[in-house]
Assembly symmetry: D2
Homo-oligomer: 158 residues x 4
């Protein structure tokens, strides 16, 4: 994903899930636009919907004491969203590795691209310790990834 | 700044401003840690304090109808913060260019590095249109930058 | 409305508007329930929808420099909401007076009443100064009120 | 406390704790004032500080699986707070009963009263079930209450 120049497009082979939302007044800041931190919550909604659609309800992970903790977040803001805007947040899985995965996002208002983003997640147990993603879940997830996992070098640094 | 491997350190030549905060209960999520979106607000507090300490109170910009709108955000989460943790958020200016600047951050709990981040900002008028940073302000800011501005190529893409 | 003992029911003569929402993970707190402050934002969504359905889009008020500023809020929490709960927030107008109005709310998860609330609002101009609600809007609104306005004594204290 | 007419004053016999805070930009809404929901978080900070100062750190309750869950909230908004305002939130205990207590609040900007509020809390276990406040804690708390507990009738309705 190239977030720097705004040319991001959803890859042809992406398995996407989209959620619609209407910008509530409480998300607007003193610039009369959505405060930049709130987009992280919009991404989260699309991510949770993606996991439910392609894997299992996120509540099942929670019930087992697990989470995909956010380890890295990048958001590139192309255009601001405003009060009562109807937004569509699209998420897709980029890669899955032993204990981590990366999800990408594009947020639109009609045809206008407002934001592109990625989040990286580490699979953790109830104490927040990194754990390998269970084999069956990982094999299930990997079918929907748009990219192969990052290189060995990156993996070792986890 | 290398946020990927956690080796970020505050540059020797950085002009820093730090703010202390105690994690409020309302910032804790269902994982019993600070929800990852809230750190963007912690960064904002340090950024506002940095601007006041090195440039002028941010309210002066607002009163003139200007803002440093967030155009890009990256946060790398090394360790989670928890309820009542005493945090210190340090900000410094990395570079200033004609209409934009980049600020870097390190967030610690005592000696432990919890988060590193950068934000990029575009100077905008009251309609949200990008404008050149006023010359006097830019010359004032540039004295505190740790890096020279990004390359011409990057600048042209703004 | 009796919020104290939870026997609140939506009045027979209420003109209601309801909005559905799914509790996002970012609204969950360290008790694993929706943090109590977030309900004020849920109410706001139902209020904005009520105004659009019974009066005019709230954006029209904003475009004219007006707001219904919140002057009083009461929320009574009967049962907690949790992550991924499907909630329905119902709003109705209780009374309108010269420069103020009161809206009541009931929030359900299926048949279970989770929260009852009221908000009072003062009509303000762009400087935040209280203003009389424009006559045409007030006459339009008053048709949907479940109660006559508060007593003269209360009104005078505004 | 009379929140209706703004004549609230801190009772002479109140044992108060105050916290100072500076309004962050992220708390400002599209009216250029602090969004009304955020005050609930400001109250929470003062409440947590009061409990630590007069009882024990709130973390001790959490570590034992307990919470003072919010069951009722009233906020009366007298004047708005704005970006960078220096606020002082004062909390005091009004009454303690078998399984519940009420805290009152006054929020000032210098000498100006901006908000008065009360919160009621039910003591709960880790499953959210109401429990009697441990006798030693209740006896400790009751020394700092400004009022005797509510009537038997109210108590029975808990």
């Amino acid at each position: 994903m190239n977030t720097e120049n705004g040319t991001n497009t959803i890859p042809q082979n992406a398995h996407t899930t989209s959620v619609d939302l209407v910008v509530p007044f409480s998300d607007i800041d003193g610039m009369n636009i959505v405060h930049h931190a709130n987009y992280a919550c919009y991404l989260e909604r699309a991510r949770v919907a993606w996991i439910e659609a392609h894997d299992q309800p996120y509540q099942v992970y929670i019930a087992q004491g697990n989470h995909f903790a956010v380890s890295h977040l990048e958001m590139h803001y192309h255009q601001p969203a405003r009060f009562a805007d109807k937004l569509c947040v699209t998420a897709w899985l980029q890669w899955v590795h032993g204990a981590s995965l990366q999800i990408a996002y594009a947020l639109h208002r009609n045809e206008t691209l407002l934001l592109t983003a990625i989040t990286q997640h580490v699979f953790v147990d109830q104490n927040g310790k990194p754990r390998r993603i269970p084999k069956d879940r990982r094999e299930s997830l990997i079918r929907f990834a748009t990219e192969t996992a990052p290189t060995e070098q990156c993996e070792r640094s986890l």
